[in-house]
Assembly symmetry: none
Homo-oligomer: 274 residues x 2
Amino acid sequence: MRDVTPWPLRSADRTGAPAAPMDLSTLSVGQYDFIANAFSFGLAVMVATTIFLWFSRSHVAPAYKMAITISGLVTAIAGYHYLQIMLSWESAFSVTNGTIETTGYAYNQAYRYVDWLLTVPLLLVELILVMRLSRSETVSKSVTLGGAAALMIILGYPGEVAEGGATRFLFWVLSMIPFVYIVYQLVVGLKGSISKQPENVRGLINGAATLVVVSWLFYPIVYLFPLIGLTGGAAVTAVEVGYTVADIVAKAVFGILILTIAMRKSEAESNASA
Amino acid sequence: MRDVTPWPLRSADRTGAPAAPMDLSTLSVGQYDFIANAFSFGLAVMVATTIFLWFSRSHVAPAYKMAITISGLVTAIAGYHYLQIMLSWESAFSVTNGTIETTGYAYNQAYRYVDWLLTVPLLLVELILVMRLSRSETVSKSVTLGGAAALMIILGYPGEVAEGGATRFLFWVLSMIPFVYIVYQLVVGLKGSISKQPENVRGLINGAATLVVVSWLFYPIVYLFPLIGLTGGAAVTAVEVGYTVADIVAKAVFGILILTIAMRKSEAESNASA
């Protein structure tokens, strides 16, 4: 069986074998704390957003309740994974009297991939559901965009855990194919459907699609960090805090935006039918 | 990268380098216990208030439900952070046979900043939502007041973790700019909107705005304690217990006040439409 330990702490890194892309042993106490606080912040934001979204289901028309249920599911799943990430992070280090040591327990970065595999397809489904397209369009767009998103995550993982830079780059390229397809669909492919949306939400839906594209750009860039020599404590801090901010924007802020769209559409539709 | 370890336990504090603004090693058993009990009290109050507020959503008109949902979110988020603060406090000390020792594990005061970054903007949003202004006013006031609140917290943090008194004072001044802006908005800027509120709640809304201003005054004063030489066990006790009381007033008492306003307005509006 191949070694699937997350790359920052693969045993090879600790035994002088091929250098790890990123080395946790260079982290300072301040960097460790800052990352731990960012994870705790992420956990609190995700759980709070979940509760807010699920309470707010009562403010939208029945047609939009499923979009809001799923928006809250995305942040709930992310909240669970931030708890796991936070605990894994704490178990990987021991900080006493202001000095930091690695404990030898691995920081399991694979939780991020498990999270994305579930949440990234779901948040595209949120966006499709809130547009309230025809049933056939809803199904076909959910399957193609959700499927492409799952494929993107699955193709990224082997490169993330690979020893060599060449393998990492190969899977980056493979993973970018579905990535570019999704971005194309969001920026160009959905244009027709967006133009049929009520005028009061068209800007918001465009905004939600743009938010996905912009917040997602962070991930492939960070993935390349080890290849361009960005390692060490500062790089680990940038990656972990950056992922957390990107996740908050792509899931929590995005979910609130989907709720706003659903509330406006519900309001407009109830006025139209009155 | 700069050291962002919370100031009470930065490594320098323990190695005879520049004196810590506050030193946990001078704490007595009685002071340790008193603070631990205050944290437990804070946790219980926050969780109980959350449950009370969310159950009470059914007592207010739909227009006010979101204000109550958010009031409960603020206390829920604070409850989570009081749990983290309490656990961090307990891990920093070992009390056996009536003697107290520091364990070397840091007391992570940054949890307070993580908490405030989320809850302070939200509790201004509570107040705006319960006033039921026009949509554009609600959005613009939420963005400006919430944004100023977030900026205030972010600007306070570098001074809190800084070594030197000068840096601490500089960030105190910077953080006071959004603070004064918010206070001005609450005391003067909202006057026009408050005068348009139904007469039976005008006093309560004024009271809620005043409660925010008064309870907030505690924070910038405490922030200056280390600069005026207030350190040691008694100062730590005053700061930690004081923060806890201020948090309870600004979040739990404030949340109950928001609920009262929402219930009175719901009642008045249902009478008016009957």
